[in-house]
């Protein structure tokens, strides 16, 4: 797994994006080890339909911010469908960590300046 690092643009962009989306309040260093149920969207009391719906909204917005707001492109062999499906798989799993999401994001997007 990729390390949660200040030198990885996928990690830093994911952190600022989740922060501006009010999903976390921690500093960069402490955020990598947060699990999905530490993020604001993850309602453990909801049924799978609503939780899946929340995950789709978050994944769609992450994709929006990365590409439209931050100038990222999809990596070779990756399209919107694959990028979002991979993010949703992580977002729906309460035990997955933010650094695992960053790893998935890093595999799917080539960030501006990388």
């Amino acid at each position: 797994m990729a390390q949660w690092s200040r030198n990885n643009r996928a990690c830093t962009t994911l952190w600022t994006t989740l922060y501006t989306m009010q999903q976390l309040t921690t500093n960069f260093e402490d955020s990598g080890a947060l699990t999905m149920n530490d993020l604001t969207f993850f309602n453990a009391l909801s049924g799978p339909d609503l939780r899946n719906q929340e995950s789709k909204i978050i994944a769609d917005q992450l994709d929006n911010v990365f590409r439209i707001g931050r100038g990222a492109k999809y990596e070779q062999g990756i399209d919107r469908s694959k990028a979002i499906s991979n993010m949703i798989e992580i977002l729906c799993d309460e035990e997955k960590q933010v650094n695992e999401l960053a790893f998935t994001v890093d595999e799917a997007y080539l960030f501006w300046g990388e």
Binding site: F41, N43, P48, N64, I68, I84
Partner: protein
């Protein structure tokens, strides 16, 4: 005593492999306890406590999944979509406690396309959820749902396009400063976040989907079952900009915005537009199969239309030391349309179930549930305080 049970549970897990606790290991534990001078009665109580503790089974289940994934991650991939939690069940009018589990499984195959400004997805899915108590008489949530569905979804808004590469460079520069700060809410950080917001403008995001589906509902022993073909409408919206009017309209978040202000989590009274509730409205045509209560009441098992509404809400309350505290709520409402007077007088035409919980990131929770689900004979009020262990 609970602490002791936990230690024993850990002991059992340490010596377990692939989720199996052998008789030999239990005998070893008994010998250890005897050697430490514990009486037979105490040992029996300790073993019973460990065996009745859902924490033991949750840990073994997790161990099983981890081992299965290590052995063959493709073959056992479906386990990642299956969420099982062992727990104890007790109804408010009974002192009997039963071990059991809740499960939910959700799998869908989806594509996400972008055509111009439209973002759409089409998916096929399978979903199952429910609660099973090993002693079915003490299950306050005796309701299982399974369905297959197709879903067409549409996403609108979220980010204002700037299309200026200088903006991207500037955002990277600000980001490089923000990640170095230990307090992301410090005065210096707030200035940087404000500058960041000048270059990255978030807008309101809307989501809706239509989902034709075919479902089966039952109680846990399938003595009552009904098919539920229908169509679901899912609705969601998020206001990502805290100054947007839609954020200020999130009145559900007002009490928590006040707590965040009082505890210093937020510098100003700031309702979060990111926590606007999501909702699902389902129109079902219910076809009862086995339901003796209904048959006795109205003399037949004719199909009937029903509306179901589910709403979920969760918000951030505060961060205390290293703990994030969240408030979670979920409401489910079922209403039979044009119900027969016999059904109405028996109070079976509508079912309301509400649950809310305070939850910390380390696993501590306090919850309150009230109401009944279809097939439940009566309202149950359930309070619980507990701890979800993260091993």
């Amino acid at each position: 005593m609970k602490k002791l049970y936990l230690i024993i549970t850990c002991f059992l897990i340490t010596f377990s492999s692939f989720g199996q606790v052998s008789g030999e290991q239990i005998n070893g534990l008994i010998k250890t306890l005897k050697a430490s001078g514990k009486s037979d009665e105490t040992i029996q109580e300790i073993i019973k406590g460990a065996i009745d503790d859902p924490g033991l089974y949750n840990t073994l289940w997790k161990e099983f999944i981890d081992q299965a994934n290590k052995q063959d991650s493709i073959k056992w991939a479906f386990l990642n979509d299956l969420n099982i939690k062992f727990k104890t069940f007790q109804t408010v009018d009974s002192s009997t406690i039963s071990l059991g589990f809740s499960y939910d499984f959700s799998f869908d195959y989806a594509n996400y396309k972008e055509k111009g400004k439209n973002r759409v997805s089409n998916s096929f899915g399978l979903k199952a959820l429910g609660n099973v108590a090993f002693n079915k008489k003490v299950n306050p949530y005796n309701f299982l749902e399974t369905d297959i569905n197709y879903s067409h979804s549409r996403f609108i808004g979220g980010v204002v396009q700037k299309s200026d590469t200088a903006y991207y460079t500037k955002l990277n520069e600000i980001e490089d400063k923000l990640i170095m700060l230990s307090d992301p809410k410090s005065e210096e950080a707030m200035k940087l976040w404000n500058e960041f917001g000048e270059y990255l403008t978030l807008s309101n995001q809307f989501y809706y989907s239509f989902s034709p589906k075919f479902g089966l509902e039952s109680n846990q022993d399938f003595s009552v079952t009904q098919f539920t073909p229908g169509i679901g409408i899912n609705l969601g919206m998020k206001s990502w900009d805290k100054n947007n009017t839609l954020s200020k309209l999130n009145i559900l978040d007002y009490p928590f915005a006040l707590i965040r202000l009082i505890t210093g989590t937020d510098k100003n009274f700031t309702p979060y537009g990111s926590t606007l509730p999501t909702a699902q409205i389902v129109f079902d045509y219910v076809i009862p199969q086995n339901d003796t209560i209904r048959e006795n009441l109205i003399g037949n098992l004719e199909p009937f239309p029903r509306i179901k509404i589910e709403v979920g809400f969760r918000t951030f309350i505060s961060r205390i030391k290293k703990e994030n505290i969240f408030f979670n709520a979920n409401l489910r409402y079922y209403q039979e349309l044009s119900a027969n007077s016999g059904i109405k007088s028996a109070d079976l035409d509508k079912h309301l179930y509400f649950v809310m919980a305070l939850q910390s990131s380390s696993g501590f929770y306090v919850s309150y549930a009230n109401g009944k689900l279809p097939f439940d004979a009566q309202n149950d009020i359930v309070y619980s305080i507990g701890f979800n262990y993260k091993f």
